[in-house]
Each structure stands twice: as structure tokens, then as C-alpha cells.
Amino acid sequence: MSTPRSDSPRRFATIVNGASLRWSDVPEWPVAAFVDATAAELDRGARLCAWFGVSEGAATRLVAVLAADAENTLSIGRSEPTSRAYPALTPRHAQAHLFEREVWEQHGLVPEGHPWLKPVRLDHGRGPAVGDFFRVEGHEVHEVAVGPVHAGIIEPGHFRFQCAGEEVLHLEIALGYQHRGVEESMAGGPGRAALVRVETIAGDSTIAHATAYASALESLSGPEPGAGEGAEAPMRAQWLRAVALELERLANHAGDLGALAGDIAFLPSSAAFGKIRGDFLNLTAMICGNRFGRGLVRPGGCRPDLELDTSLAAALLGRLRVAMAESAEAAAWLWSDSSVRERLEGTGAISREMAEEIGMVGPAVRACGIVRDVRFDHPAGWHRFAQTPVSVWPGGDVLARARVRWLEIQRSGAFLEEQLASPPEDELIAPLGPLAPYSIAVSLVEGWRGEVCHAALTDGAGLIRRYKIVDPSFHNWTGLALAMRGQAISDFPLCNKSFNLSYCGVDL
């Protein structure tokens, strides 16, 4: 713990999820003091949602977005412009490790004392996985390299295992193959293609990312721009976004339970959930025509011709109930089969302490018994009025991650039952005013993989100056690597499926 210099502000600026504030109201510290102040907040129990650089001429400001989950608040702080190097946060708080590598890659700012500084996404003309991998030396130690192209229909990434026989001593995951430049392309916007790019940051999380983007822009526009009094979408649009978000969760969780069953050759549940996943996707398609919810959310509300009237709601409910009943049956087969339980139990375990230390989010952290869910901790949009209980399960293993998914399927189903019966009367979209100049907005959404964080900073003309995107996978890939320690390498597919993280969500 350390205290910032007396001439600097003592604390970070506090906001709630989905709010904005003037850039000049974000407190700033000299860079070393800023790292100290951030470490102090993290010591107090805050969590790092985002850590990124903002260019100031040739120099860079560091920005930290922290979440105090118990207090339901977010806080923002920044450093004075700095260049070349600064004392790394990672040695004190491991959850910063990938963020600091990213800042180094994007801004050339060296985090001094970072234990494993290497690129996150860029290829330097040689392919992203080229570079130093941590190696275990020893007579019987061998290395296994997998990817970027994998055996199934799946995105590319590189996995480097250090093994002693079957046992994995260490796994290092190298991503970056999917880098499309989404974040960089947002500068100077919002442009015409911004929304479709946001929708495809991670294409299975379209609603989560589009909602985070739309909410950030909405809070930057409106009657009192930049003063925490931004506009918000009409209630009916917020309600529809919440409905679509749970449909997205249902489809992906059902798919994951099926994939887990498939990996352990338990075909009844694998076949059933494979079909049910499609049934849930088709519910989203009933609302907007697209199975992944493309085009449903837009800044200012939702697409106005996608009215969800009483008869459509009734049709949705009817099909939802069928899919929920089939899910219950397929899940019961899983839990009642002792060979399934035996295969999942104790596999790929992460301790609660480890999950806290590396800043995990989503079902993976709730499977370590930790209550952490944006819908509950930082309710915004429709979740201010309609909340879903947080689903936790102890153990941190593959079984716990599967169990949390099943609990969440049930809660999402109950949420939709309730919501589809009582839509609020309102418009679906309200025109978005110009964005406030020199302001920053932060928006968090609990996607099916966990916390989606978007931060939008505007320039003097009200255009996007810096747009920061943090997919939940950015927090969780380290969790998968740690879960593999001491496991048989043949358990990797099972552990990987139990996390089911996004490659393009990290690569952006």
C-alpha cells in the first residue's frame, strides 16, 4: 500500500456501469504513483477490468478501469503522459500480466519488472507464435506444439505443452492469429462499419458486445453529456437486449454441455444438446432473422422493425419451454451417470485463490465458488429492474464449470419466462445525439463467457479517440493454462471445452 503524493488526487473517480465522465475529471498521477495507486485499489479487493494506453503525441497515458464488485461501482484513473518505461504492476498483481504485454505491444511502453514480456497479437512478419516459449529442461521432458490450425472446426491458436510423460508441467498459449484490427479501426468513428465489426468481435457473443458498444455510445450522448447523465435507450429496447442476451447464453451453454459430453464419448447428451443449441439459436432468429443476433442491437436502442409483439412472445415461449424440457432431460443423463461424473470430477481444477489472483470472470470463476456476475454486481440497462440469481458451484474443476452452465441455463429460462410475459411499453429506438467531446464511457455486460468491457474515449470533436475492448477470454486464457498443470495431456480437449474461450475475442 502506498499513498499518492499529496498534490495528486487521493482516489480514483467512481462511476457506475454504463456511465460516462469528462476526461478532465479522471484523476491523474505520475506514472509510478499511478501504478502504486492502482495496486493499492487492487489490494483493497478491486478487480482490473481494463488497463490500456492512450497516445498523447509521442507519449502515452496509462488508464485503469477497476471494479469494486461489493460496492457495485467502477473506478477510473490515469497516469500523466509518459514514455519508454514504467514500473510494472504485474509483479504485484498477476491479473495485469496480459494487459501490460498489450500496452507494451501497442505503445512501446516497457513495464519494467514484467516477468514474461512478449507480444500478444502482432506477428512482426514471422507468425505470432514465433518467439520464446517457457521451456522445462530435463532428461524425460518433452515439448508438444499444437496449432495454429486445429483438428476440428475451430478458430486458430497455438498451444505449447511442456510434458513429463503424459503429465503436463506447463502450458503456454500463444494467440494473435485472428487479429483483424477491430480496436484500431474504431478510432475517428463511429464509422458505418463500427457496429458490424463490434458484432463480430466474438461472433458467438454478438448481443453482449453490441450491447456494451451501444450503451457506451448512449452514455456519451444525451442531455448532460459527459457528466454521468447520458442518454439511455428506451426501456423496451433495454428489455429486448436483456432477452436476447439470455438467449445467447442459453445457446452457448447448451452447446458447451453437448461438446463436453461429446469429448467424453457420452453420445446421448452430446446429440441432444447439439440439437437444442440450434433450437435456442433459432429463437434469436425468430426475433431478428439471424441466429447470432446480428442487427438486433444498435446505438440508441434496437432495430425498430424487430417488434416483439404478444403473438411472437407467445410463440417464443412455447418453443422455449420445449427446449428447456429437452435440456433438463439431457442434463439429467449427464449428472446421473457415474462414469460421466468420474471423468469430470477433479479434472482441470483451479483453486479459488488462483482464480482471484489471475482475475478470472464468468462461469469459470463462478465454478470456483466466487460470486462474480456483472448482472448482479454492476446492474445496468434492464438488469437494474430484473435480476438473475448468481449461479456458483465449488471445486473449480470441469464438473463445476459444467454444473454452473446447467444452473445458468435454468436461471436464463426462468428469466425469459418472466420477461416475455411482461414487456414494457416503449419505443424500440431513440435517435442518438452527438457524442460529448473529451469524455470517457465504460460499459460492462455479462456475456455468456463472462465480463465484456468496452471503454470509449472521445476527442474534442466528439469522435472516438480511443476504443478499448476487453473480451472475457482475455482474463480467462491464463486460467486454462493453469488448469492443465499436473493434468494428463489427453485431458486438454476436455479442459479446453470446459472454458470454451474465444480466440478472436482476444485477438480483436
Partner: protein, 260 residues
Amino acid sequence: MAELIRILQHRVRRGCETMAYPDGPAPPLPERHGGVLRLDAAKCAEGCDACVTVCPTEAIARPEGRPAALDLGRCVFCSACVGACPTGAITKSGDHRMAARARGDLLLGGPGEEEVRLAGELGATLRALLGRSLRLRQVSAGGCNGCEADTNVLGTIGWDLSRFGIQFVASPRHADGLLITGPVTRNMRAALEGAYTAVPDPKIVIAVGACAIAGGPFVGLPQVSDGAESVVPVDLFIPGCPPHPLTILDGLLRLVGRVK
């Protein structure tokens, strides 16, 4: 044991859950999907460019003094142009079929080219060589997991792609061709070229989705290649963002001559 019997009873009760298509009718597209677009450029109002300015992926152009031209390969099917068109020149047909063998067959707007020119089957030599089997290696080169997911779904019990002899295999050396998704990122280019080289000749390439056909939402960004064709020759283009599974299946079946 009791559980096993319950599972077997369930299977008997449900029977075969695979759709009748293509022998029976195709399942309907979601009502709000709208299917493939049609462009009657003759209906375009003088000097109107309402569709051009709303398209997020610059799929529509209207050169000075000429009618509008719509590139279905770039289209993400957001319907913005349909809503913006004052004369009803751009319409939704409701048809799921939109796969084409040549890139130019996806360009709409010219006289007699109001609709997509649908794909025909592979040449006789290749068809004879492949017999009743088509094995593909999937390569995601910047795909967002949308096209990947809706390709994967063809393996589930409702679609059961393997009944057509079409399978996705783990190694390019075991494959007759590649199915590519994503705009081809700079960072995946070498891996894609490697996978293509590893497929034995003669080989086919299928580009699935707006990204793989033309860069999709990422068209023009310096980190991507604007589609698979910039790296390897492409034999089949399946538009969409992502294409509906039925659209992908239709494309694959056209290629092997099961649907004409």
C-alpha cells in the same frame, strides 16, 4: 442400468430426427431472415444513392450515371438497403439458395443479373475422382466463430452432413479441399497457405461467409487480406454473415451434384 434404459426409450420415442431435405422440402428460413437479395436496378430512381450510404460493408456502388450494383459476396444481410430503397428496387426473395461458383455470379444489378447465378456441380473429372465422398479441412483465418458454428451445426442430428458422404477431417493431407472462414488475417496467411499446400491435388476451396469471400466487416483494414481468393483459388462462394446452415448445405450439395 435404469438410466441406460431410459436413454434408449427416449431414442426410440424420438425416432430419427434428421430432416427429410433434400428428398423432402427444405425447412423454412426464419421469417425475418428474408433470404437472398434481388436487385432490379432498372427501378433505381435517378441519382438516388440511399442504399449506398447505409451499407456497412460497402457492398453497393452506384457509379455516376449507371444503375446500382450490389455485391452479395460483401453483403452481411443487415437489410439496411432494403429499408432505405425508396423504389423497392432491392427486395428480399425469402430464398435460402445463394451459393455461386464464380465471384462474378454474386454481382447483382446488370441487365438479366437481378438475381444470384446459382452454383453448378464440379466438373466430371473431379466428380469421378471424388466418387460419393467429399472430405474437407476447415481453416478459420480470422473468422469470428459465427461461420464456424453454423458449419459445425451441419454435423448435428438434425442435419447429419455425413449422410451425403461429406466429412470434416483433422488433417489437410486427408482432405479433398479446404473450407475457409474469415477474411484471412495477416497472421493466418502463412498457416492457410501451408494447409492448402498440404491438401493433395486436385483440390477444391470453399469460401464461407462475407469475410472469406470479400473481407466482410473488415474489408480494407490493413490487418486482413479481404478474403480467401487473395491467397488461394476459390471454387465455391457461400454468402452470409454467417450463412444460414441451410445455405451452407445447399452450397455443398450443389458442388457434389446432389441439388441442382
